[in-house]
């Protein structure tokens, strides 16, 4: 098992142009889907075993099947595309939108048809300006060709697509935060239930899918769900685009058959550890998942394989960490991110992430005692599962795993009263945006008017 390109094949062709996309079979799957019943399209998605590519891994066909059937509806139904990619380490949706914007549009139309949504919204991360322009141009071209809008391909199906730019908030990648934001509010998550399938955008039934999930629909319809399910391993069908980064020779996005081992990705495909260093740890699914040690990288990159190894496949972002990294500094930097991005709605997350940061700063600076190391784990434990959305968990889970797997390193900070890396850690002195805001305020006070 290794590289297998379903999505990112046809390298060298400019598939952002509709004509080129059509030359490689583009929009044929849409045509085929429109000739099928809606139920049949959902059946194919179910048969494919496709699981969400955003992070949670929920079966895509089942999610679509939760929406009320057309005869039970009193309100319009919406499809929302989650293109707000911002889990640290993840940059796959960006490349998918850059290279195959029409596959995203085609998948959006197929899924919209399956749930009978006449309007779809693509919530696109604000910082991705170039990708927004590519998606916008592709959408305009598709609209001009009658592939989007009224009576698509003469099949009597109407569906409009609006691209909505975000403005810099990690929490809007959480589905209900996204919906709030799209409704023109602060992007603070909602309590669930009700789930978006019943009451989502504008309190209407809404299906929310990640970019990569939708981009897989054309392949599934083209080859048939059963055939697609033959790729990958049990419970993890198909391919995924893995984002490889950190201390590795060839970082980048690689589309692999699910079930490929972390070792293959890091060493055979990524060229191994950069600068002749040795591997210390790997974050296998974006910064919110538990860490794996160098001894655990034979685990396969699939949902069950990662769960068995004690971590998660998450967003498919593999961050490689070499032996120069202080794991307390890593914990601090990760906690700082989640503190910065906490929306402030739930107390355990809002206060807990701040508390984690202050404890980790103390440990790193050698000012903590052993009780405070225990307190850090207590704080993590009291965030877990106690909030409306998983953002707090996303801070608590990885940090607790760093302490569990690198406990000696944490203890040494306490025992020696200083960072054992003596200023030589690869993360030494890294300035996080949460600290920068403080610096800004200080500068304002100190400079005389």
């Amino acid at each position: 098992m290794a590289l297998k390109e379903l999505l990112l094949e046809h390298t060298g062709r400019d598939l952002t142009k509709l004509a080129e996309y059509e030359k490689v079979g583009g929009y044929k799957a849409l045509r085929k889907a429109l000739g099928m019943t809606r139920e049949k399209v959902i059946e194919e998605a179910l048969a494919s075993g496709l699981r969400g590519r955003g992070g949670a891994g929920f079966p895509a066909g089942r999610k679509a099947s939760f929406l009320p059937k057309p005869e039970q509806r009193t309100k319009p139904v919406y499809l929302t595309v989650n293109a707000d990619e911002s889990e640290p380490g993840t940059f796959k949706d960006r490349e998918i939108m850059q290279r195959i914007p029409h596959a995203v549009i085609e998948g959006t139309l197929i899924a919209s048809y399956a749930i009978d949504a006449q309007a779809a919204f693509i919530y696109l991360r604000g910082e991705y300006l170039t990708e927004f322009e590519i998606m916008r141009d592709a959408l305009e071209e598709a609209q001009a060709r009658g592939l989007v809008g009224a009576n698509i391909l003469g099949a009597g199906f109407n569906c409009s697509i609006v691209i909505h730019r975000g403005a810099g908030a990690y929490i809007c990648g959480e589905e209900t935060g996204l919906l709030e934001s799209l409704e023109g509010k602060r992007g603070q998550p909602r309590p669930k239930p009700p789930f978006p399938a019943l009451s989502g955008l504008y309190a209407s039934p809404t299906l929310i899918n990640n970019v990569e999930t939708l981009a897989a629909y054309p392949s599934i319809i083209r080859m048939g769900g059963k055939k697609y399910a033959e790729i990958g391993v049990e419970n993890s069908a198909g391919t995924r685009v893995f984002s490889l980064s950190g201390n590795v020779v060839r970082g980048g996005n690689y589309e692999l058959e699910l079930g490929t081992s972390l070792r293959e990705l890091i060493y055979d495909i990524g060229g191994g550890i950069a600068g002749g260093r040795s591997l210390k740890a790997v974050i296998p699914g974006g910064s919110s998942v538990p860490v794996l040690t160098a001894a655990e990288i034979d685990a396969p990159l699939d949902f069950d394989g990662m769960a068995k190894a004690g971590s998660m496949l998450g967003s498919g972002a593999v961050i490689v960490i070499d032996d120069r990294c202080c794991m307390v500094q890593l914990g601090l930097r990760v906690a700082q991110f989640y503190m910065h991005e906490s929306c402030g709605k739930c107390t355990p997350c809002r206060e807990g992430t701040r508390w984690m940061v202050s404890l980790l700063e103390k440990i790193e600076e050698g000012r903590a005692d052993h009780r405070e190391l225990g307190l850090l784990l207590d704080v993590c434990d009291r965030i877990l599962g106690n909030c409306l959305c998983p953002l707090g968990d996303a801070a608590a889970m990885p940090v607790a795993s760093y302490v569990a797997k690198f406990r000696d390193e944490y203890r040494r900070h306490v025992d020696e009263g200083r960072c054992p890396f003596g200023g030589e850690s690869s993360l030494e002195g890294i300035l996080a945006p949460v600290d920068q805001h403080h610096a800004h305020v200080r500068a304002e006070i100190e400079v005389p008017a």
């Binding site: 380490g89 991360r125 910082e127 980064s245 950190g246 300035l431 610096a439 800004h440 500068a443």
Partner: protein
């Protein structure tokens, strides 16, 4: 047509794309910020008026998102990602090179009002770190030695 009138019209055009007009607040704030360079009180008032909202509501929404500037920023914006993947491959060195070249700290603007420097959370280019966004266009990877040329380019622009 005055600038204010044209912003009002542009927002109306966007608002009709949504089932509920309030959804147009984010694109409207992006447009207003393009016009003013940041979001001064009058920009928030214009957005509010165009969408039948209050300025306070618009400020509440704008303050939630990092890309909206509620304080003036430089004509150019340099954003250095210092999240984990970039940090592991030397983002701090890149940031410090910008600080030295510009003579300011992260979070500050040069005295001539030309360039603002700030760190940002994961920009989404992790495999090609360090990622630097210059006026919302990504440069990747950026090494400390690339910094003088980037600043010179902005100064000349």
């Amino acid at each position: 047509m005055s600038d204010a009138a044209s912003l009002f019209e542009e927002i109306q055009e966007i608002a009709v794309r949504y089932p509920v007009r309030r959804s147009a607040i984010m694109p409207a704030l992006h447009l207003a910020q393009e016009k003013y360079g940041w979001l001064p009180p009058e920009a928030l008032r214009e957005v509010a008026e165009a969408l039948d909202l209050t300025p306070a509501y618009c400020q509440a929404v704008a303050s939630f998102y990092d890309m909206y500037h509620l304080k003036p920023v430089g004509k150019h914006l340099i954003e250095v990602c210092t999240n984990v993947s970039c940090a592991l491959v030397g983002a701090q060195g890149v940031l410090e090179a910008f600080e030295a070249e510009l003579g300011i700290h992260a979070g500050e603007t040069t005295v001539d009002g030309e360039i603002t420097l700030r760190t940002v959370e994961c920009a989404g280019g992790c495999g090609w770190g360090t990622v630097v966004s210059v006026d919302h266009r990504y440069r990747e990877p950026v090494k400390p030695q690339d910094v003088p040329a980037i600043v010179e380019e902005l100064r000349g622009a």
